[in-house]
């Protein structure tokens, strides 16, 4: 009986000490951030830019920029269409004065005649195959002469970039022209660097192993 009594008292005393110790532990361990944050660099603002990739002739005119690239008759002679030369494979030979031009319009290098688009009679304009003359600031008409469905989509707002207002009553929709995105000499959109991928809360996101694709 006494024994039981004493051990009960001893346990009560131990409990008191344990509780007070626990309390002290809580107070000591209260501060600080329990989970260290990962380091996630802020995204480069270049990925937030809404500016078009390319500037068209119309953009240059509007912003009063250097138009010397379009001063064809600074070098060429008027009324004398420059000759086009081909190599043995029927690939066009690009003169060194135009070495910045990469010819990549169309599959299999077939679209290799400058005068499909440029006006051989007047290098300051472009021409549609039916003979209509088109200015550098009106290229959709030229491109659309071959790419009809794309022109139709573009006119409906379904092809190409838009910005501004979807609600025309509240503001204008801004459109871009073909050459704002496509290089007319090599219209396929080039590859580019992607913005950084996602960071999961506690570590990497698992994905399935790379899939082998058949060419």
């Amino acid at each position: 009986m006494l024994n039981r009594n004493a051990s009960t008292n001893a346990w009560l005393a131990v409990l008191t000490v344990v509780f007070l110790g626990l309390g002290a532990f809580f107070l000591v361990s209260a501060g600080g951030r329990p989970v260290p944050r990962q380091v996630i660099p802020l995204v480069d603002p270049k990925f937030l830019s809404t500016a078009p990739w390319r500037q068209t002739y119309a953009d240059l005119v509007r912003t009063n920029q250097d138009l010397s690239d379009y001063d064809c008759y600074g070098c060429h002679e008027k009324n004398k269409p420059p000759p086009i030369r081909y190599d043995l494979n029927h690939k066009i030979i690009i003169p060194k004065e135009h070495s910045d031009i990469v010819m990549g319009h169309g599959a299999h290098d077939r679209n290799n005649l400058c005068y499909n688009c440029h006006n051989e009679q007047n290098l300051l304009t472009l021409q549609v195959r039916d003979g209509r003359e088109v200015g550098f600031d009106n290229i959709p008409q030229l491109c659309g002469s071959c790419h009809g469905p794309n022109l139709r989509d573009w006119e409906a707002g379904a092809h190409g970039r838009t910005s501004g207002y979807w609600d025309r009553n509240l503001g204008a929709m801004q459109r871009l022209s073909c050459a704002n995105c496509h290089n007319p000499h090599a219209p396929r959109i080039p590859t580019r660097e992607p913005a950084p991928g996602p960071h999961s809360l506690h570590g990497p996101v698992g994905s399935p192993p790379p899939v082998e694709t058949t060419p």
Partner: protein, 314 residues
């Protein structure tokens, strides 16, 4: 019935009072430990305030209430970020139902939309919250389980793959709305499913219910650098969120209900994203749904009927 009393207590008075004293000590120790265990709460800071705690449900706010709440939110944002924001409560427009179309033929997987969205909608940068997830998919499959979320190629697009950005599909029949126990998320008449950030209790049932993994939870206080805060805010849209609540894509309510295009659309370098009013036959989206042939409503078999259409045009 006989009742039985316990055997008479044989302990002496001294032993009895010693026992009482020790019990008292243990109880005191226990209460001390209880109080000390709550010590971390000293750092609660701006967890909530009386006004925030008592704030009414969005649909029950009168215009006067709303004006006060907006003033309070503007004050809170200014205090925290040093910028006075412009918070509006934009209502859905009559005769407008939004639809999004995304051209999978065009998307190059550059992830610009992801980051433009983060910037526009004041999402937390660390931990990272993003509404859009771009999947790199092998040609020939729409099975998202084959998608790669973390591709980090030097250049995109890569041969043999297409890219599929996924965000809130703004379903006609949203499972997330159905499951919310407190009606903190609902579908508005222009088709946008919104969240009342001041009403959500953070149970994350909607996150479990969404078949598109479109919802995000603020696992801690969001971190937005001051210099990247977008001060053009809306109540149901991009105002800064609190710890412990859900958020998700709301079609940039602060832009689209003012007639503008969403941020992800404007930043898309290839024009793969198209947005507009499906009730207007002249809109781009009406044109696309009329003229294009193949549409994919992701996980159509779920019966959610998304307002987000994927299509191919070649």
């Amino acid at each position: 019935m006989p009742t039985l009393t316990p055997p008479p207590d044989q302990t002496s008075d001294a032993a009895f009072s010693r026992r009482s004293f020790l019990r008292g000590c243990a109880a005191f120790g226990g209460l001390t430990a209880l109080a000390a265990s709550l010590a971390p709460l000293r750092e609660m800071g701006d967890y909530t305030s009386t006004e925030q705690f008592l704030q009414k449900y969005y649909k029950e706010l009168t215009p006067d209430d709303m004006a006060k709440v907006i003033a309070r939110i503007e004050g809170e944002v200014q205090k925290e970020y040093g910028i006075r924001p412009h918070v509006r409560d934009l209502k859905p427009m009559d005769g407008v139902e939004f639809v999004y179309c995304l051209n999978l033929t065009r998307c190059i997987g550059c992830r610009k939309c992801v980051h433009a969205c983060v910037a526009e909608n004041n999402q937390s940068r660390n931990p990272e919250i993003q509404y859009i997830r771009v999947l790199k998919m092998p040609h020939g499959s729409m099975d998202v389980e084959k998608g790669d979320h973390t591709y980090d190629a030097k250049q995109v697009p890569e041969k043999g793959f297409f890219y599929m950005p996924v965000q809130c599909q703004q379903c006609h029949n949203p499972p997330c709305v159905k499951v919310c126990p407190v009606n903190a998320t609902w579908q508005e008449k222009d088709g946008i499913t919104v969240i009342d950030y001041d009403w959500c209790i953070g149970c994350r049932y909607c996150e479990a219910a969404c078949p598109y993994w479109a919802r995000r939870f603020n696992f801690t206080k969001p971190e937005i650098p001051k210099e990247r805060l977008n001060p053009n805010m809306s109540y149901l849209g991009n105002r800064p969120r609190k710890q412990g609540v859900m958020e998700k894509c709301h079609f940039c309510i602060q832009r689209t209900r003012a007639g503008r295009y969403p941020a992800c659309l404007e930043v898309c370098p290839v024009g793969a994203r198209k947005f507009g009013n499906i009730l207007d036959p002249e809109s781009e989206v009406s044109y696309i749904l009329r003229e294009k042939r193949v549409f994919i409503q992701l996980k159509e078999e779920m019966g959610t009927s998304p307002r987000f259409f994927y299509y191919f045009d070649k």
